[in-house]
């Protein structure tokens, strides 16, 4: 392989690269080997530590925890997308009394740490007499406020990156501003920004793990609970390994869906030259 950064390797460079490859491999193997050795040495691979996770009841609880994570993710994702679109439209409004509050809202909620938002929901609001804030609501509202604000910026950047002619053509054929936005600009912006939007969805999925700190019953919370069962030797590392595999799997699955959608939309564009774009973009935003 060659790139602009280096010449196609000659015989000498090939030999040197081989040596470097072997060295890298040795270093990586040494790091992984050391970690595994420490795990084995401190007895993390004893059957006793993993026994807990072979019980059907424990497995069911873990499945429920995955369900809890996914339901928080799905709810927050849908609400964030809606909030993001609303805020983006608000910011692009010609009326200052709409655009200025929307700007303040996005800037404020992008600057406050997500965990603090969740804590305000879960620990703060009940002291003001707001009833019925479950950890689920705290997690979803926190995720929605933060990611909605981030997505608003993404949508706005997408809409502003479109050629001006699109908007002008829409007005020229007599569409109202709202129709120009929803049926001409937004579909194209979503298509242009799809990779960023999906990346943000992965962030939402990962950030559901913060629910652990506000006692939401998700994967990490269960992992800590099982990990501290003393009669099974406090298998905290096995629990962390299991949680890690689940999270990486879920995120890679989401990234795979994203790649599939992207390739599909690109194909559509080539065949239909953009005429079917609104349909495809609309269905993608709903996912």
């Amino acid at each position: 392989m060659s790139s602009v950064l280096f010449d196609t390797p000659g015989p000498k460079a090939v030999a040197r690269n081989r040596v470097l490859s072997v060295v890298t491999l040795l270093v990586v193997v040494a790091i992984i080997g050391f970690v595994i050795y420490r795990f084995a040495e401190s007895g993390q691979f004893q059957a006793r530590k993993w026994q807990l996770f072979s019980f059907p009841l424990v497995q069911q609880t873990l499945l429920q925890a995955i369900g809890a994570t996914l339901s928080a993710f799905a709810t927050a994702a849908v609400f964030s997308l809606v909030l993001g679109i609303v805020l983006a439209f608000g910011r692009l409004s010609d009326r200052r009394w709409i655009s200025v509050p929307c700007l303040a809202f996005t800037e404020l909620f992008r600057a406050v740490p997500l965990l603090i938002l969740m804590m305000i929901m879960y620990y703060g609001l009940p002291t003001l007499g707001v009833q019925g804030i479950s950890p689920f609501i705290a997690v979803v509202v926190g995720l929605t406020l933060y990611n909605g604000s981030v997505l608003a910026e993404v949508f706005r950047a997408g809409i502003e990156s479109l050629p001006r002619g699109q908007k002008e053509a829409g007005f020229a054929i007599g569409l109202r501003k709202s129709t120009v936005m929803t049926s001409i600009l937004l579909p194209q912006a979503v298509r242009a920004m799809l990779p960023v939007i999906i990346a943000q969805l992965v962030v939402i999925l990962k950030d559901t793990a913060l629910g652990f700190i506000v006692t939401y019953n998700e994967i990490l919370f269960q992992a800590k609970y099982f990990g501290s069962q003393a009669q099974y030797g406090s298998p905290i590392i096995p629990a962390a390994i299991i949680a890690g595999v689940i999270y990486v799997g879920l995120c890679l699955l989401l990234a795979g869906v994203a790649k599939f959608l992207e390739s599909r939309m690109r194909r559509n564009q080539r065949i239909a030259k953009g005429t079917r774009a609104p349909v495809a973009a609309g269905s993608a935003a709903g996912d």
């Binding site: 950064l5 040495e41 305000i120 590392i237 962390a240």
Partner: protein, 215 residues
């Protein structure tokens, strides 16, 4: 206001720890991230593979889980003991380094092809053309995304509060022990973060102007 003034000691130590976490994690993440980015564009296939594997794995793991491992799992391994603070710095650096690496890699791609070609033409090997020609320009191009990464890091330090580090995110728990209203304390913490993020974006604008790429 009273909540803030009566517990100023809590707030100052909390944000002091937050800033320590932020400062050290940012430096380590910057160093590690640059190395990983260089590995990912290097001519050695094994280095590229190792860099890609690291970035893809850690980026798909929640920060909470990374800190969970270092704060709760690491002490069980029978290795030299480290404080929760150090564990949090290690976790945050390893996590943020992947984002730094991706930012720098995208910056390397924005450097005009002619620059790297010219470097090769005058006979510079890969390490020199990267170090002397490409990276200095890439760094300037990625100031905005790099600062987004650092702002995210600043906000992510609050996660360490869940793992026994007495920083800004832990102020609430300490306040409620003193019987202070939780909401007022949390709002003050949020306000300070808004100010800190604002300061960082001012710094970003300063660097953007100072290191504007003349093209």
């Amino acid at each position: 206001m009273n909540t803030l003034l009566n517990n100023l000691d809590l707030f100052t130590t909390g944000f002091q720890n937050t800033l320590i976490l932020f400062f050290f994690s940012a430096i380590f993440a910057l160093i590690l991230g640059t190395i990983v980015a260089a590995m990912r564009v290097s001519p050695v296939p094994a280095m590229r593979a190792a860099g890609t594997f690291y970035v893809n794995t850690v980026r798909n793991t929640p920060l909470t889980l990374v800190l969970f491992f270092f704060a709760l799992g690491y002490p069980k391994l029978g290795l030299p003991e480290i404080s929760f603070m150090t564990a949090a710095i290690v976790g945050l650096s390893l996590y943020t380094a992947t984002y730094v690496a991706e930012a720098i890699r995208s910056g390397i791609n924005t450097v005009p092809v002619g620059q790297a070609e010219a470097a090769r033409a005058i006979g510079l090997p890969f390490s020199q053309s990267l170090r002397l020609i490409v990276l200095p320009q890439a760094f300037r191009a990625v100031i905005p995304p790099m600062f987004s990464v650092f702002i995210a890091l600043l906000k992510n330090t609050t996660v360490a509060a869940g793992f026994s580090v007495a920083e800004a995110g832990a102020i609430r728990a300490n306040l409620s022990e003193r019987g202070e209203p939780a909401m007022a304390g949390l709002l003050w913490v949020a306000l300070v973060f808004v100010v800190l993020v604002f300061l960082l974006s001012l710094l970003q604008r300063y660097f953007e102007n100072k290191w504007k790429v003349a093209r």
